[in-house]
């Protein structure tokens, strides 16, 4: 992987994620019959937040500031393990899928700790929900990745996403489809989308992710939104690389194809959000366990 490719990769992960949010919001609005905010609205929001001042709670410590910052840092680092428009990611080694999952774990640890740092019972409640659901999402994510690992006999993300995903769609349709469904559920759960959580809800008692960041303001809130968008983008990229094989061709074609696939996935997420209601909280664990089971079936199909 050359320096130029890494630079392009970094530029994409730093700049493109808010566009994915914009696409999701625009899709939701269109399906609901509204015109919707401009596609670039998330960028305007981030710029606005970056220029504001910070107000902190008297209760908070350094952990409160570390939460959003670690969120951004871990999402960017995790993105380096996923190949975007190339065959091989900037950082790739046997077992990097463990690092991929655990980096998001680190981000979550600090997000929840920052929520508890305010001493607010609302934010504690959000944190409790976040860790409960993510503890169940973790096995689902690992099992889905294991389907790909078993299929390719390779232990790195670049190895399972880089080479011949298209061919695998032909030879092993059922396992790959099961793993993709499972990953899609994990993607929605980890990023607090409908049906797990409603990013636009306005009642503290029903929130998960939004309630954890109630007290963040100004650039800190901007960092939270930016990090969340990056996380959504990285996990969508993972799924997009499985669903849409990369064409052979010059770099601009590959990158365009990759970005189109991710934004198309954004449209799908928007459609899901527009057409579904959120689940009752006590049903969420069942859906996550079902996602694990889907992948487990995929592995059973592969192991002989």
């Amino acid at each position: 992987m050359s320096g130029v490719e890494t630079a392009v990769h970094l530029a994409v992960i730093l700049l493109v994620p808010p566009l994915l949010l914009g696409v999701i919001q625009r899709t939701k609005a269109r399906v609901a019959g509204r015109r919707g905010a401009p596609l670039l609205q998330p960028y305007y929001d981030l710029v606005k937040l970056a220029r504001k001042d910070v107000v902190l709670s008297r209760t908070t410590t350094w952990v409160f500031v570390a939460g959003p910052a670690v969120g951004v840092a871990t999402a960017v680092l995790a993105s380096l393990l996923v190949p975007f428009g190339e065959r091989v990611a900037p950082l790739s080694f046997a077992g990097d899928l463990v690092l991929f999952a655990y980096l998001f774990g680190l981000g979550r640890f600090f997000t929840v700790a920052a929520a508890l740092d305010t001493g607010s019972s609302f934010e504690g409640m959000g944190g409790a929900r976040e860790v409960t659901f993510s503890a169940l999402a973790e096995p689902a994510l690992f099992l889905a990745l294991l389907v790909l690992v078993t299929l390719h006999g390779n232990l790195s993300l670049s190895g399972v996403l880089g080479e011949d995903t298209g061919a695998r769609w032909v030879t092993a349709v059922a396992p790959v489809a099961l793993a993709s469904m499972s990953l899609f559920v994990v993607l929605l759960a980890e990023n607090s989308r409908i049906p797990f959580d409603d990013p636009t809800t306005h009642l503290e008692l029903t929130m998960i992710h939004e309630v954890m960041v109630l007290d963040h303001s100004g650039p800190l809130l901007g960092a939270v939104l930016w990090g969340a968008a990056q996380k959504l983008f990285v996990q969508s990229a993972l799924l997009a690389r499985i669903l849409v094989p990369l064409p052979d061709g010059p770099a601009p074609l590959r990158w365009a194809c990759f970005l189109a696939a991710v934004l198309a996935l954004g449209v799908v997420i928007g459609m899901v959000e527009a057409t579904m209601a959120r689940l009752r909280l006590r049903q969420v664990p069942m859906l996550l366990i079902a996602a694990s089971l889907l992948s487990a079936f995929g592995i059973v199909l592969l192991v002989r």
Binding site: L99, G105, A113, T132, E138, L155, S292
Partner: protein, 659 residues
């Protein structure tokens, strides 16, 4: 040279309580001399380990006299050296901590006894690790086990302490019994007490031997159904003793399992599967029970059960890999297990020392009575937070590296074996992922409720930072966690030496099998971003940002008691594991009338093995054997008569056997 250094280290550690016996009872010099001797012992142990790992100076040494006609040998090979270092290192750091935590001046009654027993734990454990003969092994084992009993019961005026001490004593006796049985069986096979490899044993004999020894060692290590002594002992012992129990005593059980397996020829596939499944059960249930605990040290104790489970998963993989002839699985599993031994020793000791600092400064270990301590004990909070990130296996700290090795072993096993074993390895990956998620939930709860938010009691509100000596001890452990996380290559020589002595036929190439370089790059990336974030916060002058109240929906009188508690935080996950945990809930009754009466809510998580199985069984046994009391006349001459009869019967039986 190396084995002499190890012997000196063991002797220094064992003797570290002796100066205190001649000094006045309340003299602080006794504490300092114990810490100094243990520190010297740790340095000697480190030098010996370095000699073995880097220069390959493996040695055995025969004692110049015979015991009961046996030639006693001690020796230092890679495996011994690997366990000697944390044994002495953790003990020395904990004794440094004890200088301020358990000073002679304020514990006149127990300090002298505790200091002596504390040194003997380390000395006994050191002897176990370097023993090459069953006598030396069992002697060290008994010294360690009994010294641990006297350390756990330092505050024997408290009822709970005596209870936990007796349960520990019963368990350690049972474990010793199993080990006596294992060594006697070994002797009956080839008339040898020496701990040397027996490649010619047939499969059934070695499986029986391993099974017997495994029971004894797993009781000490605290694997899930045999963990019954562990939570009580860890929760009631003085905190620096808890750190040593968790950081090192449990690991001696692991050492025993690994050492015993290395003496025997490869076992059956089902043995490896058994150890792996036991490890998975231990890990998942250990962390699930930890989630429901209300007391900080008890929570940490259940996490020891979880981590022993992760270590056993690695050991099971190593056994499987050896039997099936998959050297890569074998070395990854063993390396993961062994590195996790080091890592768990470091971060669990760190967490216990942090918890001790919280308990000492705010006079409570009840999680729901604390809060807001990060503003009052900032350095303790930082140390505990680092330990929490490390124990969750999160990068960039050391826990991640060893868990990654176990993951890699499982993944390789699933690719290499296929079929039922492959599916077992896959479920191992899923279990480890679940454990990771649950551990993060549990530690974000413990860290958040204890250190963040507002203090829930006046004692917590008035807490001050711990004394410098305690902070130095914690800083040493935290530093080690960071170094092993960023540069795990440093441990590779020790790991490879240990793997070679486990299976001499294996030429370990860990640098090829595990991505240490990439781990360093990722960890360095995280560290760089931490520095960048701190610089940004300074540039934005966040410290001087305007301060106001936490958003409270406009409620006029928020109180600290309205914060989310640890019980409510964990309620969702405890509910999901209700089938295993069976929490007991005393729901509040508000009365039937129009005006609700004062009411309380109480939840408890009784241990299934201890409170639901062992204690009722023991009560039944006591009740059932009352008829046997008639031999207990309380007259000495009848007891002498019993002894005579027993000797005669034994003698006749032996003669009959000969004839």
């Amino acid at each position: 040279m190396s084995v002499v250094l190890a012997l000196v280290a063991v002797a220094l550690a064992g003797a570290s309580g002796l100066p205190g016996l001649v000094l006045p009872r309340d003299d602080a010099a006794a504490d300092r001399s114990a810490a100094l001797l243990l520190g010297l012992a740790a340095l000697c142990g480190a030098a010996a380990t370095a000699l073995v790992a880097v220069a390959g100076a493996e040695q055995t040494l025969a004692l110049p006299w015979r015991v009961l006609g046996e030639r006693i040998e001690v020796g230092l090979d890679g495996l011994s050296a690997f366990f000697l270092l944390p044994t002495l290192g953790i003990a020395s750091v904990a004794s440094l901590y004890a200088v301020a935590y358990w000073p002679a001046r304020s514990h006149v009654r127990s300090a002298r006894r505790l200091r002596l027993a504390f040194g003997l734990i380390a000395g006994g454990a050191g002897l176990v690790v370097i023993a090459r003969h069953a006598f030396a092994f069992l002697a060290g084992w008994e010294i360690m086990a009994l010294a641990a009993f006297f350390s756990i019961t330092a505050e024997d005026e408290r009822d709970v302490v005596r209870r936990a001490g007796f349960i520990y004593l019963a368990c350690t006796r049972a474990s010793t019994l199993a080990l006596f049985g294992a060594f006697a069986a070994l002797h009956s096979v080839d008339a040898g007490f020496a701990l040397r490899a027996r490649p010619a044993l047939d499969l059934d004999t070695s499986r029986a031997l391993f099974g017997l020894a495994f029971v004894g060692f797993a009781l000490k290590a605290g694997a899930m159904p045999l963990h019954l002594w562990l939570p009580g002992a860890h929760a009631t012992a003085p905190t620096h003793v808890s750190a040593v129990l968790s950081g090192m005593l449990l690991k001696i059980g692991i050492y025993g399992i690994v050492r015993f397996a290395s003496l025997l020829p490869p076992l059956a596939v089902s043995d490896g599967v058994f150890v792996l499944v036991l490890g998975m059960a231990s890990a998942v249930l250990g962390v699930a029970f930890a989630l429901g605990q209300h007391e900080l040290k008890r929570l940490l104790a259940y996490h020891s059960v979880e981590n022993i489970g992760i270590i056993l998963m690695g050991v099971g993989l190593a056994l499987l890999g050896r039997t099936l002839g998959h050297p890569e699985v074998e070395q990854l599993g063993l390396a993961g297990a062994l590195l996790h031994v080091w890592n768990h020793a470091l971060f669990k000791a760190l967490l216990f020392l942090g918890a001790g600092s919280v308990i000492r400064q705010s006079a409570s270990g009840e999680i729901d009575r604390l809060g807001g301590l990060a503003r009052r004990l900032p350095l303790t909070a930082l140390a505990f937070g680092l330990g929490a990130v490390a124990i969750c296996g999160l990068p960039p700290l050391n826990g991640f590296v060893s868990e990654l090795l176990v993951y890699l072993g499982l993944l390789r096993a699933s690719l290499l074996t296929g079929g039922a074993l492959g599916l077992l390895a896959v479920s191992g990956v899923a279990a480890l992922a679940l454990v990771g998620g649950l551990a993060a939930a549990c530690f974000v709860k413990a860290f958040g409720v204890v250190f963040l938010g507002e203090p829930r009691t006046a004692a917590a509100a008035g807490a001050r930072e711990a004394p410098p000596v305690m902070l130095v001890a914690m800083a040493l452990l935290a530093l080690a966690c960071g170094v092993l996380g960023v540069a795990p290559q440093l441990a590779v020589p020790c790991l490879e030496a240990a793997i070679r002595s486990f299976d001499p036929g294996l030429a370990p190439r860990l640098r090829d099998a595990a991505p240490f370089g990439s781990i360093s790059i990722a960890a360095a990336g995280l560290l760089v971003s931490v520095v960048a974030m701190a610089a940004w916060a300074r540039w934005r002058r966040l410290r001087y940002a305007p301060r106001t109240v936490t958003w409270d929906c406009g409620y006029a009188a928020p109180s600290p008691r309205m914060q989310y508690t640890s019980s409510s935080f964990a309620a969702g996950l405890v509910g999901l594991f209700r089938w295993a945990l069976r929490p007991q809930l005393e729901a509040p009754h508000f009365g039937a009338g129009p005006f609700p009466l004062p009411a309380g809510l109480h939840t408890e998580l009784p241990d299934p093995v201890l409170d639901r199985l062992t204690l009722p069984a023991a009560r039944w046994l006591v009740h059932a054997s009352t008829w046997f009391r008639w031999v207990q006349r309380g007259r000495v001459h009848s007891y002498v008569f019993y002894i005579l009869v027993a000797i005669l019967v034994g003698f006749l039986a032996a003669r009959g056997g000969l004839g």
